[in-house]
């Protein structure tokens, strides 16, 4: 046993590189910083105006009570809103500075590249520094680039859709993101195009007290399909970091979009993300969401089913260890007839961690023959931990069929006994049962991610006593 004992309190990817930055402005947020940032990025006029309008919305929107209660320690003036890491963007791995390269090597990005993932956009601090698309994507007419480049080069695609799903006045954090966003991915898939390989981006936060506000926009045209994968991992720091992303997905009629994330921010990050998709007629949008890291995550991926026969899915796994609160969930808005949705949430809490499922299924009047099923299962691994379930259902249509099920339990004693009778230690048996518990969600991930997620859960589980 002694040889495999791991210190659970230690964050596994928690190294940090010395900071070397080209431009690092003052902390805090005001119109001058926003203007300067927009100018540094060489943005068109409409984007500068968009940012300034969002900033005034952010300043005007009141801080909500529940937020202030949950996060008494956050200070918006103690955050760097924009840091430009190296002087420009490169498309060859060897041109990256050694420290940046070393960081990614620890995260295994070059291997991922070698494994023929369709494209890699690695975000180091605020700018995408490394980017490479396989040439076949270009041949298909698929655009996969960072958001800053897209704003400059594809304004005809970006301008009408940017902020159309999540307008800056949606909530205080969407306003903040709209004012100071930097980086993130832009994907456009032309009609009737199937992107066979998952597109992938990896995000990292490195500077202390550095806010990361990436902005992702995915437009999938009629009859096309794409799978976008995003993994997050931040090194450990003592100050509190804020991560507040906005992700918008537009699935045109018949499109199929899957967005998979594994979030493994270090345990000092506040992760407040607004993710929303619009699924038009017969389109399918699914969010696969793994929440392992951060101090507090509040994330409720939403699908607005706006066309007949659209389908939405949220599959999520959450793990909360010591000092962590995973407040995650899903939102399904049935705004058209014959739409269907599925929510499956698996959560695990341990060492005083807290997991919360908070979800909404809404069926608008006139949306006939809709169906939705919600299933939430929670495992609590010790007596200090906590699990909550708050599923809201607002059904305004008679023939909607809506179901919800949830269970909360500990690891079954019979299951443990069975495995231990076969020679497994209690720890191995527990890890195996937990992996089985999350299996329905994990199996929907690409293989490298499925392995990574299982491994991360196993690492966190070491030392667990059912």
């Amino acid at each position: 046993m002694a040889t495999t004992e791991l210190d659970l309190g230690r964050y596994k990817l928690g190294w940090s590189d010395p900071e070397q930055y080209v431009f690092k402005p003052r902390k805090g947020l005001n119109a001058d910083i926003v203007k300067e940032m927009s100018w540094m990025k060489g943005e068109p006029d409409w984007m500068t105006r968009f940012r300034l309008r969002a900033l005034s919305l952010f300043e005007r929107k009141p801080m909500l009570d529940w937020f202030a209660r949950n996060m008494p320690t956050i200070d918006f003036d103690d955050v760097y809103y924009y840091i430009k890491p190296t002087s420009g963007q490169v498309n060859d791995w060897d041109m990256l500075p050694d420290s940046v390269k070393a960081t990614y090597e620890k995260l295994g990005i070059p291997e991922a590249e070698r494994k023929f993932l369709a494209g890699v956009t690695a975000q180091y601090e605020s700018e995408v520094v490394y980017h490479k698309n396989r040439s076949e994507l270009e041949d298909q007419g698929v655009l996969f680039t960072d958001m800053d480049t897209a704003v400059r080069e594809w304004p005809d695609l970006v301008k009408p859709h940017f902020g159309s799903i999540i307008p800056p006045n949606d909530n205080k954090f969407a306003a903040l993101n709209s004012a100071v966003w930097s980086g993130g991915s832009f994907i456009y898939v032309p009609p009737n195009t199937h992107v066979e390989m998952p597109l992938q981006a990896y995000f990292r936060i490195n500077a202390e007290n550095m806010g990361q506000f990436e902005r992702t926009l995915i437009i999938v045209d009629e009859g096309s399909s794409v799978h976008y994968v995003e993994g997050c991992s931040a090194p450990i720091y003592t100050g509190d970091s804020l991560h507040s992303a906005v992700v918008e997905i537009i699935a045109k009629p018949g499109a199929n979009v899957r967005y998979s994330t594994i979030q493994n921010w270090s345990p000092n990050v506040y992760n407040l993300v607004t993710k929303r998709a619009k699924a038009e007629a017969e389109a399918t949008v699914s969010w696969v969401d793994g929440n392992l890291g951060s101090k507090l995550t509040m994330k409720y991926p939403a699908v607005y089913l706006t066309g007949p026969k659209a389908h939405g899915e949220v599959l999520s796994v959450a793990y909360a260890g010591a000092g962590q609160h995973q407040d995650a969930g899903a939102k399904m808005i049935h705004a058209a007839p014959e739409t269907t949705s599925l929510i499956e949430s698996k959560s695990i809490s341990k060492d005083g961690g807290r997991t919360t499922y908070r979800g909404l299924v809404r069926v608008d009047p006139g949306c006939h023959k809709t169906k939705s099923h919600v299933r939430c299962d929670a495992l609590i691994l010790d007596e200090d931990s906590r699990s909550d379930t708050y599923p809201y259902m607002e059904i305004e249509e008679q023939d909607a069929r809506i179901g919800h099920e949830a269970t909360v339990s500990k690891v079954g004693e019979d299951q443990l006994f069975y495995l231990m009778a076969r020679g497994l230690t209690e720890q191995q048996a527990t890890a195996m049962i937990v992996n089985g518990f999350i299996e329905p969600v994990v199996k929907t991930l690409p293989m490298e991610y499925a392995i990574e997620l299982s491994r991360l859960i196993e690492l966190s589980m070491e030392g667990a006593v059912g």
Partner: protein, 432 residues
């Protein structure tokens, strides 16, 4: 605040302790704000439509209409607008020490008054404290088994009135009783704010059924709250059929090891009714068990809200809790909201919940149609089948039959029938 001022409460009759208690509550109410739908506990409710100024306390209710006893009873209490107007207590039980009394006539405050309700007050329980006329005290001594039901019959009447009925049940150690509380009313526009407190002592067994068949213009904001002691059992059921807006907050606090509660409800809303339920299964001791089954149907433009919480506190190891809410939506325009919440703060527990909202299953209708059952008859059969397991659990004998009859009345009042039925889904003629 309108008529609900400290001065108004001082004008009410009653013993010294009661007037003092009321005055203190009225002072609290005077500074309390009425809830708004922005508060989670009042989300989806119609509380923003409540205009307290339309109501005043102490409106005369006439003679009242009370249902005669259908079975032998241990005691019958008749309450008119919250004022006890008749009380029959079986002499044998009285001799053994069963107390059924009008709170207003007591020389001092009964111990159990306020025990359960003060654990979770809101503006309306404070209002009840400030304006209660008295109410019913049922006190079952230690070890006594009351074999016959104790029935509290309420009648609410008087346009523009506000009533504050109070019922307090105190179950001694190892005692057993069956209490039925029934609210009926005429067609008057009336606000009724009942508070029912159930204190179930160690090893006691209480079966409580709260039923409301209010008139169509009644506004009800009710609380039934129970504390359940060690190894005690509570079965608290609710039937909700009437009212314009009828809210029931039903809470069970399991304070002793081995305590168990079962909460079952049947509700049926039609026309523009809103039936609003908030439940709490609060486990604060190990080895506690709670079970909840709420089944409802909505029709026409009616709405129902079910919002429940199971809370397993850190001490509730080895607890077992279930929570089930099922809703049938019988017509276009009706809606049901269902929010079954869990808050679990301990690990060695079993807890599950399920909820569903949907129409009558077309496969079931089809099956019955292939057996020659016309669609409107089939719908009735399916609706009755849907309610039957809950009815079976909450009532028995004549009570169950009366409940089935009440559901039938409600079902037959439907404005529109199945589109495939004989008259093609047309509005029924007024005399049908």
């Amino acid at each position: 605040m309108g008529s609900f001022t400290p001065d108004a409460t001082r004008a009410l009759p009653g013993a010294g302790w009661l007037t003092e208690r009321r005055a203190a509550a009225a002072e609290r109410f005077a500074v309390a704000a009425l809830p708004t739908p922005a508060e989670e506990a009042w989300r989806y409710s119609r509380i923003d439509q409540l205009d307290l100024d339309r109501y005043r306390p102490g409106v005369a209710g006439g003679a009242g209409t009370f249902v005669g006893p259908s079975v032998e009873r241990a005691a019958t209490v008749r309450v008119l607008n919250g004022v006890v107007v008749g009380l029959d207590l079986d002499a044998t039980y009285a001799a053994k020490g069963l107390v059924v009394a009008d709170i207003a006539t007591l020389a001092e405050a009964p111990e159990a008054l306020g025990v359960a309700a003060d654990g979770s007050p809101d503006a309306f329980t404070v209002l009840n404290d400030a304006f209660l006329a008295g109410g019913t005290l049922i006190s079952v001594p230690d070890g006594m088994v009351v074999e016959h039901p104790i029935v509290v019959e309420h009648w609410i009447a008087g346009a523009g009135g506000a009533s504050f009925p109070r019922t307090v049940v105190a179950m001694g150690e190892d005692s057993e009783a069956h209490v039925l509380e029934r609210f009926t009313s005429g067609g008057d526009d009336h606000l009724v704010v009942p508070v029912t407190e159930l204190s179930v002592g160690d090893a006691a067994r209480l079966r409580f059924v709260g039923m409301q068949d209010h008139g169509p213009r009644i506004w009800q904001i009710a609380l039934v709250r129970a504390t359940v002691g060690r190894d005690a059992t509570l079965r608290a059921s609710a039937v909700a059929l009437g009212g314009d807006y009828a809210r029931l907050r039903s809470e069970a606090l399991l304070t002793g090891a081995g305590a168990s509660s079962e909460m079952v409800a049947v509700y049926f809303a039609n026309e523009h009714q809103m039936l609003d339920f908030r439940t709490l299964q609060d486990h604060d001791a190990p080895h506690t068990t709670s079970e909840l089954l709420f089944k409802g149907a909505v029709e026409d433009e009616a709405e129902s809200v079910y919002s429940g919480l199971v809370r397993l506190r850190p001490d509730a190891q080895r607890a077992n809790a279930t929570q089930t809410n099922r809703n049938l939506v019988l017509s276009e325009g009706a809606s049901a909201k269902s929010i079954p919440n869990l808050e679990i703060e301990c690990d060695d527990v079993r807890c599950s919940h399920a909820s569903a909202v949907g129409p009558i299953d077309p496969d079931q209708l089809y099956y019955l149609a292939t057996r020659g059952v016309p669609p409107d008859v089939a719908e009735r059969l399916i609706v009755f089948g849907f309610f039957e397991d809950a009815i079976d659990r909450l009532a028995f004998g004549a009570g169950a039959d009366r409940l089935r009859a009440a559901v039938t009345r409600k079902f037959d009042a439907r404005r529109c029938c199945h589109p495939d039925s004989v008259n093609g889904g047309q509005e029924k003629p007024p005399n049908a």
